[in-house]
């Protein structure tokens, strides 16, 4: 997949809340059809980076390019158009609580397509079936479990057949089995539909299962300190911090144990 063309490019990006810089000098490329992971310890700005990429928060400096077109430098109309190519799964699912699942999924179709109500309903049912929620069309979000909400959120993200899917911590709050099912679903979406998928996570098991490529954001130096395939990084990264993260802190633990036994 390494030969695939560039899809998203982040250039010289700095993000900040007011004067407080969270991350600076971010430069990386997401290739078309890749599963790309943004990882790092808690509080390093992973979710903020995602917010900038999906157009919810403006960067302090720098730019995000989609297919070579700058996103933030373009007018709001162009941005809106671009946003329609995104499907986003938020951390909590972010389903609209006043609507049923079918209405949630139907909303973007109702707004952006010419489909009739019956077609929308049919399409929503299909999307629900894709994520394993067949028959739950008329449930409200508060009537289903957390894992189901996430899957329903994914069904909504798929509503307009987006080019790029963004996932914000998809496995947070899921049991290991559901989390694995979600990983498989992600891979299937990539393979069957050829989507580019950007995932924010620090769940190692799913990182190694799904990732083609990743960046590692470091909260201490406030920039990215590694970029590449996570398996390669785990074995060969020159940066001990990155290897330690990907080995679940085992390097540090070994060092400590050695310290104790001496």
């Amino acid at each position: 997949m390494n030969t695939a063309a560039e899809h998203i490019r982040v250039e010289n990006l700095t993000m900040a809340y007011g004067d407080f810089v969270i991350q600076k000098d971010l430069d990386f490329v997401v290739r078309r059809g890749d599963v790309f992971i943004i990882m790092g310890g808690s509080g390093c700005g992973k979710s903020t980076l995602l917010k900038i990429m999906i157009g919810l928060k403006a960067p302090a400096t720098g730019e995000v390019f989609y297919d070579g077109d700058p996103f933030w430098a373009s007018g709001s109309e162009h941005q809106e158009e671009r946003k329609r190519e995104f499907g986003i799964l938020f951390q909590s699912g972010a389903l609209f609580s006043s609507m049923t699942l079918a209405e949630n999924i139907g909303l973007p179709m109702q707004l952006y397509t010419e489909m009739s109500a019956a077609e929308i309903r049919e399409n929503a049912s299909l999307k629900l079936a894709l994520v394993g929620l067949k028959g739950f069309e008329d449930y409200y979000p508060n009537e289903i479990s957390g894992g189901m909400k996430k899957r329903a959120g994914l069904a909504r993200a798929l509503a307009l057949d987006p080019e790029i899917l963004f996932f914000d911590e998809p496995s947070a709050g899921l049991d290991p089995i559901s989390s694995r099912l979600l990983d498989e679903l992600i891979l299937e979406l990539r393979d069957a539909l050829g989507k580019t998928i950007v995932v924010v996570t620090h769940e190692l098991a799913s990182i190694f299962t799904i990732a083609d490529d990743c960046v590692f954001l470091d909260p201490d130096t406030r920039t990215m300190i590694a970029h590449g395939n996570p398996k390669t990084l785990r074995d060969e990264s020159p940066n001990e911090k990155v290897r330690n993260f990907l080995l679940r802190g085992e390097l540090e633990a070994q060092n400590q144990n050695r310290g104790h036994s001496e």
Binding site: L56, F90, S92, S97, L111
Partner: protein
């Protein structure tokens, strides 16, 4: 050397004490040796000292001077004012798009909102305005009957309800009922990332969430105020007929003669304006809501306070302007 021979059971307060000893010992160059302590205690002590305190993580509270605090508070107030104005501006633009039919919203949602703000508020508006009418009549009756002018209670109640109290009491009920609920709804949607989800779909939350709420209140407020006028006058009549022995027909006729259409129109216009204020204050506080359940509660409180302040201040402005216009 710390010893604990014969120690039966212990809890983390022991660890706390020991950790403090060791920490003081380090700064006072005296060493405490905990190696004679039970295994579990040693393990926990190791954990307590395993990770160095992150520099800058501890919050230091320094008392700021009065001037600094005053300055910060005023800068804050200016910021909030600017945010409020920006919100009002984009709400107006969105309302404009709604009026030319270019806004994205859901008709069914608007219908539900109208039902909730209008029909479901009927009972409370009836009760409150009926009682307000009665209270006005009581106060008037005691004073006016001393001069044998009891019939003028009808004028007092009619004018007061039509011009002021009908719109004002409805607005205050709406601020507590609907404004707070708007703030809580939008606040929860903010916490739940639903608002982010909307904007990422390219849907303007202003058009989708704020405008329908404004419309619902703008449509329902004048109707409710008109109804409140009626209930208030009815309340006044109960007192007039029951306490002052006025005839029903007499009371109605006196009210009709004293309350002109202009007075009623003034009340209606006020009701529309108050409706906008309550909707804007509720939605503004909801959209500004922070990221926690506590923030949602604060948003609701702040929405009610803001709307009531705005209602009273605007009513004062109305009084001045109408006075100048001679109405």
């Amino acid at each position: 050397m710390l010893q604990a021979d014969g120690l039966g059971s212990w809890d983390t307060s022991l660890i706390g004490f020991l950790a403090k000893c060791i920490a003081t010992g380090e700064s006072g160059e005296r060493e405490f040796d905990a190696s004679a302590m039970p295994e579990g205690v040693q393990g926990l002590l190791r954990l307590a000292f395993a990770v160095e305190e992150r520099s800058g993580a501890r919050r230091t509270t320094t008392r700021k001077g009065l001037l600094v605090r005053l300055g910060e508070a005023s800068l804050d107030a200016v910021d909030r004012m600017r945010e409020g104005l920006a919100f009002l501006g984009s709400a107006t633009l969105a309302l404009g798009r709604f009026l030319v039919g270019r806004a994205r919203y859901q008709g069914s949602e608007l219908f539900l909102l109208i039902q909730d703000t209008g029909a479901n508020a009927f009972a409370i508006v009836s009760l409150i305005s009926f009682l307000v009418g009665m209270i006005l009549a009581f106060v008037g009756a005691v004073q006016l009957s001393q001069f044998g002018a009891g019939i003028y209670v009808a004028n007092l109640v009619g004018l007061a309800m039509a011009r002021e109290m009908g719109a004002m009491m409805t607005a205050i009920i709406m601020a507590g009922r609907t404004g707070a609920s708007f703030a809580a709804q939008l606040g929860t949607m903010r916490v739940n990332e639903e608002i982010d989800a909307l904007s990422s779909m390219g849907i303007d939350p202003m058009e989708f969430l704020v405008v329908p709420r404004m419309i619902a209140l703008m449509v329902m407020m004048p109707l409710l105020a008109l109804y409140a006028n009626f209930m208030g006058i009815l309340g006044g009549m109960v007192v007039g007929v029951g306490m002052l022995d006025l005839g029903v027909f007499e009371y109605v006729e006196q009210t009709r003669r004293s309350v002109s259409l202009t007075q009623i129109n003034i009340g209606i216009i006020k009701a529309v304006v108050f409706g906008v204020l309550v909707a804007v204050a509720g939605c503004l506080r909801g959209m500004q809501c922070g990221n926690s359940s506590q923030a949602v509660g604060m948003a609701a409180t702040s929405a009610v306070v803001t709307s009531i302040v705005l209602i009273i201040v605007t009513d004062g402005l109305f009084a001045v302007v109408l006075n100048v216009l001679g109405l």
